[in-house]
């Protein structure tokens, strides 16, 4: 009987914080521990604008510092939140239950790049773009390229399994993580994975940690896989009078044995917003835009681009803009970059959902989204990586429309799952999508995930209140406290 179910608010022993701070100051160092209100405010939020004050911030510089801090948190049962640049889109690093934020930004060195092995070992808070630039000096390439690459960290990318525009050809972060050094919930330091591309010795723990959103451990070193840098990148922007033509072109490109580096589409609303507010001149009849990048050896790329242009024309593209130089590429891509600023001029609040459906179902989901919006005042711009089915639905709204957007999103998530898709392609779950976990996951999956969480984090101190549905968390908490009372743990 649900009625009589015991409702206990999850509480952590915040009264222990004062004791913990003293210990942190002596074990990790005075200058690395902060609990003044200004610092606490600065580490209370992420890019979701959710905010919750932590009690203390630790700024470690070495793995040992992290391990010492985690040990203390474990002893005093204080929640821990690992934080990189704080650019996550799902609340992953927000200190929801108070406690200790471990700001790893000082661990930002590239330890080694091995061109011969095609690997690099980095500390977690290397900025993704910085790593890309450094390996490029060795003619190497780290492909995952989230749009926040110039401000987000590798550690954050691993924790959320970030994707990006190159997903169709190169995959996502998980395809490039070979090994990890992780501080576990009790403060022990564990290494997993190898510096070889292949390794099947035992379970793939590395992969388990990728996308774990800080709920299983804290990364202190990351081994990444690199590939040779493609010699040439060329782009073409194709403008169509309807979305169907654009989608058909995308399919045709792949059916013609070409795997483009990116395959981006912008819908009518995105284009309209850029035209009206972004200051870019796009002809009135254009209702869909494709931006296609191809990379590889120069002759091959030129040939591929010719074929792609031919296919665009076959599918009634009205304008084609080809980019040969870096400046021209900038220009071709500027329309895509103009969307975000333009959207904020329409409404102040944005819900950016990163649904992903099988490629064959893109048209279905776009139709369903369009239908769900009929008769509402919501302005929704869809654009994204149609190469891998990852569409970004940007619901622009005002304060009084929050509930309506929530309702629309809930419906769309059901449709997405019914089509065999996922509610989050690359942003993660965090706090923004935990209530939808059961929409996608089966009870069995969730149970196994909970067991894993229990194994790694029996006290529930690692990033509490994230990823798992809130009621599932409560159930676990009740069971845990009962067990404690009965002397089972």
């Amino acid at each position: 009987m649900k009625l009589f179910k015991k409702k206990v608010k999850i509480q952590y022993k915040v009264e222990n914080v004062a004791k913990a701070i003293d210990r942190l100051k002596s074990d990790v160092g005075d200058s690395r521990v902060y609990n003044n209100i200004e610092e606490r405010i600065c580490y209370a939020f992420d890019a979701t604008k959710q905010s919750s004050l932590p009690d203390v911030i630790v700024k470690p510089e070495t793995t040992e510092h992290v391990a010492a801090a985690v040990k203390i948190a474990n002893e005093f049962e204080i929640p821990i939140y690992a934080r990189g640049a704080g650019t996550g889109l799902t609340g992953g690093c927000v200190p929801l239950k108070g406690g200790m934020v471990i700001d790893i930004m000082k661990m930002n060195k590239i330890i080694e790049i091995s061109p011969h092995d095609l690997t690099a070992i980095v500390e977690p808070c290397v900025i993704t773009k910085h790593l890309q630039n450094e390996v490029a000096k060795h003619h190497l390439f780290y492909p995952p390229d989230p749009s926040s690459a110039d401000s987000s960290t590798i550690g954050g990318n691993v924790a959320e399994c970030a994707g990006g525009i190159t997903g169709v050809k190169y995959g996502v972060t998980r395809n490039y993580i070979l090994s990890l050094e992780v501080v576990l919930a009790d403060g022990t330091i564990m290494k997993c994975g190898r510096r070889t591309l292949k390794s099947v010795t035992g379970y793939d723990l590395t992969r388990l940690f990728v996308g774990s959103e800080g709920t299983l451990g804290i990364f202190t070193k990351i081994g990444v896989r690199l590939i040779p840098m493609p010699k040439k990148v060329l782009s073409v922007q194709a403008q169509f009078t309807n979305v169907d033509d654009a989608l058909a072109t995308g399919d045709d490109v792949i059916n013609n044995n070409i795997l483009p580096r990116t395959l981006e589409m912008m819908d009518e609303i995105s284009i309209k917003s850029v035209r009206d507010y972004g200051g870019l001149n796009i002809p009135e009849e254009v209702k869909a835009i494709l931006i296609i990048d191809v990379d590889g050896q120069e002759t091959a790329v030129l040939e591929e681009l010719d074929t792609i242009e031919e296919l665009c024309r076959k599918n009634n593209a009205v304008h084609l803009i080809r980019a040969n130089t870096t400046e021209e590429r900038e220009k071709v891509w500027s329309v895509r970059r103009a969307i975000s600023p333009a959207l904020y001029k329409i409404a102040p609040l944005k819900i950016n959902e990163d649904i992903c459906v099988p490629r064959s179902k893109i048209k279905d989901i776009l139709d369903k989204v369009k239908k769900s919006l009929e008769g509402t005042s919501i302005f929704m711009a869809a654009f994204g990586h149609i190469g891998d089915g990852n569409i970004h639905l940007n619901y622009m709204h005002h304060e009084n429309e929050v509930e309506l957007v929530h309702k629309l999103v809930t419906e769309i998530f059901k449709e997405v799952v019914a089509l065999g898709g996922t509610i989050s392609g690359e942003h993660g779950i965090g706090t923004t999508k935990q209530e939808f976990m059961r929409t996608e996951l089966t009870a069995e999956e969730l149970t196994v995930m909970r067991s894993l969480k229990n194994l790694f984090d029996p006290k529930g101190i690692l990033n509490p209140g994230k990823m798992f549905p809130v009621d599932d968390d409560e159930e676990w908490y009740n069971m845990n406290t009962d067990n404690k009372k009965n002397g089972l743990v």
Binding site: I37, E38, E39, I41, S51, A85, D103, S148, D150
Partner: protein, 419 residues
């Protein structure tokens, strides 16, 4: 254009894009030292979650006001407005330190007193046993801590060049706003500006009544002093009937174009439209011929010109016509200079500067030009510290050397004919 800082705060989506460009954050990695962190503190202050404290003051003063964040912000937050509000709040609630306050309120608005003060400093600089490092001195401004300061000029630019510099058939009449660094230290830049403009048939007025642009007062939040100075400058400029106001300092140009609008509002609009950076003015209104030298030239972008006013091609075009131009890697990266910031955070200044000097060394240039005496000073300091064989100069000085005006060319032809 008033300071609606709350509107700007509301625009912030907390995405953290500002992390990628903030020169201070890139060195420190501290959230309290980047735009987004400062905005979260501004919100907390507005909502009375916190009061003005030393830590908050540190966060505010750690901003270089380079305006990179404004330029790249995806939601278009104008952080200049927010940081100015915070600076005013700090000044209102915690007061302005006595010495700068005296300088802003008593010295800056009175040119004779400012002259006197700098004269004393200049004499002091010559008689005191100062540590030397290229053109830089470590004394006598002991108040400035570790900061190296340049040798002060014997006579100020206004004393030497104040007044009208007529030409035979003037195409335009412009006022030259010198700014303090050019007036008291780099008088040769002033000379170059006047000479080049005259040779291009432009009549130049150097209004004797002009004062500091007021940026230092704004940077410490002294609204009262800044307003007084701005009004006096407005009068000084309005007196001279000119077609344009030209400045050779990136920060002065930005201040005259942006900050004056914030304070003087519509009454300054007409003047604001007339303000030009020297390179921008020359490219827009004049035609000139040059004889390029063999020297390898490169260019460093002053933050306020590049990020606030979008001026980057004009000085490069002039350099390309003056010598063997090479692009500097990371040309638009900050050199670390910049008024109040360098005094309070000299350690960070040096870290940021060192990267710039690395890049300059790599470029192999003989001359690194910039359109701001502040950057020239900072880069000279860095070069002197490493004993490099590079000269830091203002672009206009480079152009002055390569410019061939009518009379000079004629002279050359005559010589050729005679031979």
């Amino acid at each position: 254009m008033s300071l609606n800082w709350e509107e700007e705060i509301a625009k912030c989506s907390m995405c953290g894009k500002c992390h990628s460009v903030c020169p201070v954050y890139l060195e420190t990695g501290e959230e309290s030292m980047v735009t987004r962190g400062r905005i979260s503190l501004a919100i907390a202050l507005r909502d009375h979650q916190i009061t003005m404290t030393e830590a908050l003051k540190d966060s505010v003063f750690s901003c270089k006001k380079c305006l990179r964040c404004c330029k790249i912000c995806p939601t278009g937050v104008n952080f200049e407005v927010i940081i100015q509000h915070l600076l005013y709040s700090v000044a209102e609630e915690m007061g302005i330190p006595l010495l700068p306050k005296l300088v802003f309120r008593w010295v800056l608005p009175r040119r004779w007193l400012f002259n006197l003060m700098l004269k004393c400093a200049s004499i002091g600089q010559r008689i005191m046993p100062a540590k030397k490092r290229g053109p830089m001195r470590h004394l006598p401004m002991m108040l400035l801590g570790d900061r190296w300061v340049p040798a002060l000029s014997k006579g100020s630019a206004l004393k030497q060049f104040g007044g009208v510099h007529k030409v035979a058939n003037p195409k335009m009449r412009v006022a030259f706003f010198t700014g303090c660094l050019i007036n008291y230290v780099y008088t040769d830049i002033a000379e170059a500006v006047i000479d080049v403009l005259n040779r291009l048939d432009i009549e130049v007025v150097v209004p004797k009544k002009q004062l500091c642009c007021s940026l230092p007062a704004l940077s410490l939040g002294d609204r009262k002093a800044a307003t007084t100075i701005m009004f006096k400058n407005q009068d000084a400029m309005k007196e001279e009937k000119v077609d344009a106001i030209v400045a050779a300092c990136g920060s002065c140009t930005k201040s005259l174009k942006h900050d004056y609008m914030h304070v003087l509002e519509d009454s300054w609009q007409e003047m604001s439209d007339k303000v030009y950076d020297i390179s921008e003015f020359i490219e827009k209104f004049t035609e000139y011929k040059t004889e390029p030298s063999e020297e390898k030239l490169t260019y460093h972008d002053p933050c306020h010109l590049f990020w606030a006013l979008d001026i980057h091609d004009q000085p490069r075009d002039q350099l390309k016509r003056s010598g063997n131009y090479v692009e500097l890697e990371g040309a638009s990266n900050c050199c670390g200079g910049g008024g109040v910031f360098t005094l309070l955070h000299y350690d960070l200044t040096v870290k940021i500067m060192n990267k710039k000097i690395d890049d300059i060394e790599k470029s192999g240039a003989d001359i690194v030009a910039s359109n701001c005496p502040g950057c020239v000073m900072q880069i000279s300091d860095g070069i002197a510290g490493r004993d490099l064989n590079v000269k830091a100069m203002h672009t206009i000085q480079v152009l002055r050397k390569s410019l061939i005006d009518g009379s000079k060319r004629q002279l050359k032809e005559e010589v050729e004919m005679a031979s």
